[in-house]
């Protein structure tokens, strides 16, 4: 006689269901894991930054705030030279890779689909798909051969190598921007008898601007941070900042390294934050 559904107090069933629906998306422990991820990703860097301001020589005990290590680092000739080399290479690589990537992005989005498009994408993204150490030793082998044949030496090799691996990073945001841009404005300009070059400089380029800026910033950051390829092919006197830092770490930990590292991290973070803002403007 007693139907199990009516035997149950009528009010509990909907309430139970509502409770389930309310945290439909919740999974126990997932929030904690997410926070653990953030702590894991940020704690080491924050400790490094904190100790770069430590007054004491120790990288263990906090004794007080000081900017001494920054002053020491900025006075250090080795660090200053390395910073200059890094900036020179990064600027060259950024200009070359951004121009090449912009042109390639126009070719792959602003013309009709073509045979071999997949191959072109493959080639452009190739530096991303191969382990960096392989690219590094392969490039070293090529450059050693070229140096032997031509006798040419200099920082040009390093600049070219950086330009090559920066292309896919510059290409991604530029292509993404072009894909979201409609052709309407360019067509309107062409309909009003603007010659192709004018359409490009007065319509396409200004619209594409944020994409190009984003691409250039990524290229700059990637070049500035490179270690492995630079380590393998840099000749004497071509020490970049990361290579200098690696050498200094091998010699022993000093607060000066913490200060230089903090500066390098700050530059990357600032550029990426700027990029984030540029991209948010692009979305609007």
């Amino acid at each position: 006689m007693a139907d199990p559904t009516t035997a149950m107090p009528a009010s509990t069933q909907p309430r139970q269901r509502r409770r389930l629906v309310r945290d439909l998306k919740a999974m126990p422990g997932f929030t904690a894991t997410a926070w653990l991820c953030i702590v894991t990703l940020y704690l080491p860097i924050l400790v490094l930054i904190a100790f770069s301001f430590n007054e004491n020589r120790s990288v263990v005990l906090w004794t007080g705030f000081s900017l001494d290590w920054y002053a020491k680092a900025l006075e250090n000739d080795g660090i200053r030279n390395a910073a200059w080399v890094s900036v020179k290479i990064a600027l060259f690589a950024t200009v070359i890779s951004t121009i090449a990537a912009t042109m390639a992005a126009l070719a792959t989005t602003r013309t009709k689909a073509f045979a071999g498009q997949g191959l072109v994408y493959g080639i452009i993204n190739q530096p991303l798909m191969i382990p960096e150490i392989v690219t590094a030793i392969a490039t070293l082998s090529l450059f050693a051969l070229v140096k032997k044949v031509t006798g040419l030496t200099g920082i040009g090799y390093l600049m070219l190598a950086h330009a090559a691996f920066c292309i896919p990073f510059a290409y991604m945001p530029i292509r993404a921007r072009l894909e979201t841009m409609t052709l309407t404005l360019e067509q309107a300009a062409a309909d009003l008898y603007a010659p192709p070059l004018k359409v490009f400089t007065l319509v396409t380029l200004p619209l594409l601007g944020p994409g190009i800026v984003a691409g250039a910033m990524l290229a700059f950051v990637v070049s500035l941070d490179d270690v492995i390829i630079t380590l393998m092919i840099a000749g004497p006197g071509e020490t970049t900042l990361p290579i200098y830092i690696l050498g200094a770490i091998r010699r022993g930990i000093t607060p000066e390294i913490n200060a230089v590292s903090t500066i390098l991290v700050a530059v990357s973070v600032l550029l990426v934050m700027l990029l984030f803002l540029v991209q948010r403007r692009m979305q609007r």
Binding site: M27, C37, I96, A107, V134, A138, L160, V227, M232
Partner: protein, 312 residues
Amino acid sequence: MSGREPQTALAAAIEQNRRNERVTRAWLLAPALTIILAISILPLGITVVYSFLTPGTYGGVTWEFSTDSYVQFLFQRDIFDDSLVFNSAYVSIFLRSIGLALGATLGALILGFPTAYFIATKPREQRNIWLFLITLPFWTNLLIRTYAMLLIIRDEGIINIMLMKAGIISSPLTILYTDTAVFIGLIYSFLPFMVLPIYASLEKLDFSLVEAGYDLYANRLKVLFHVIVPLAKPGIVAGCILVFIPGLGAYITPELLGGGKKLMIGNMIAMQFGASRNWPFGSAAALILMALVILVLLANALAARRGASNNG
């Protein structure tokens, strides 16, 4: 008769237009393709050639054909009778690297999946902040991040100090220069690569399916493993590949956290071009590493194709 001429003129104009487009495209693609072909792809060809040459005395190569590099990978010549004896040194470095990369992939998955899910279930504005926080470390220098990790896991690092102050341990745990350190370092380095693709596939997740699961009396675990995980599979696979491949070729992490004692493939290759001065062997090892990477990518492509044909 009179109607045909304009037609052919039109066809010619279209043909001309098409040809112009091809020419423009070729010019636009030329710089990027030339740079990458010359600086990134041509060198791979040179590496193949080098791997079949004889090492030069002071580094570089001597132009004499030899398969020694590949033989050396597996065997050692006996000094007395010149016979080949199996040598496990290099194979074991490869196996160690594969093991560490697989372990790091699993670790990153265990940490990364819940994080990606957590982010995907947040309101839109909060999601952007979380994604930014996950992406930011990727753009900061890997060397400096690894060095920062070294600072905190050292014997006198902040982790040991805190654990000792809390009275959990009495003497510092030795983590640095062990496999554990390399394992932690790899997870730390490549964790963002796991979170982002999983997030991308979870973001599109239709939660009415989750609700349906609960309506059919599935508990949380069942919904997670029978509804959410299968739907997020493409992202999980992509994340695993993106962590495994750079993990396998890692150089900085084992160099700093393994202390140069716990070698991985990347360090072994770099050594051949440095102190060991055996460029052909280094080239061969690099090609074997690349073959492994291509194998992983091929297996993935095949699995994806089979999955697609099953569904279709």
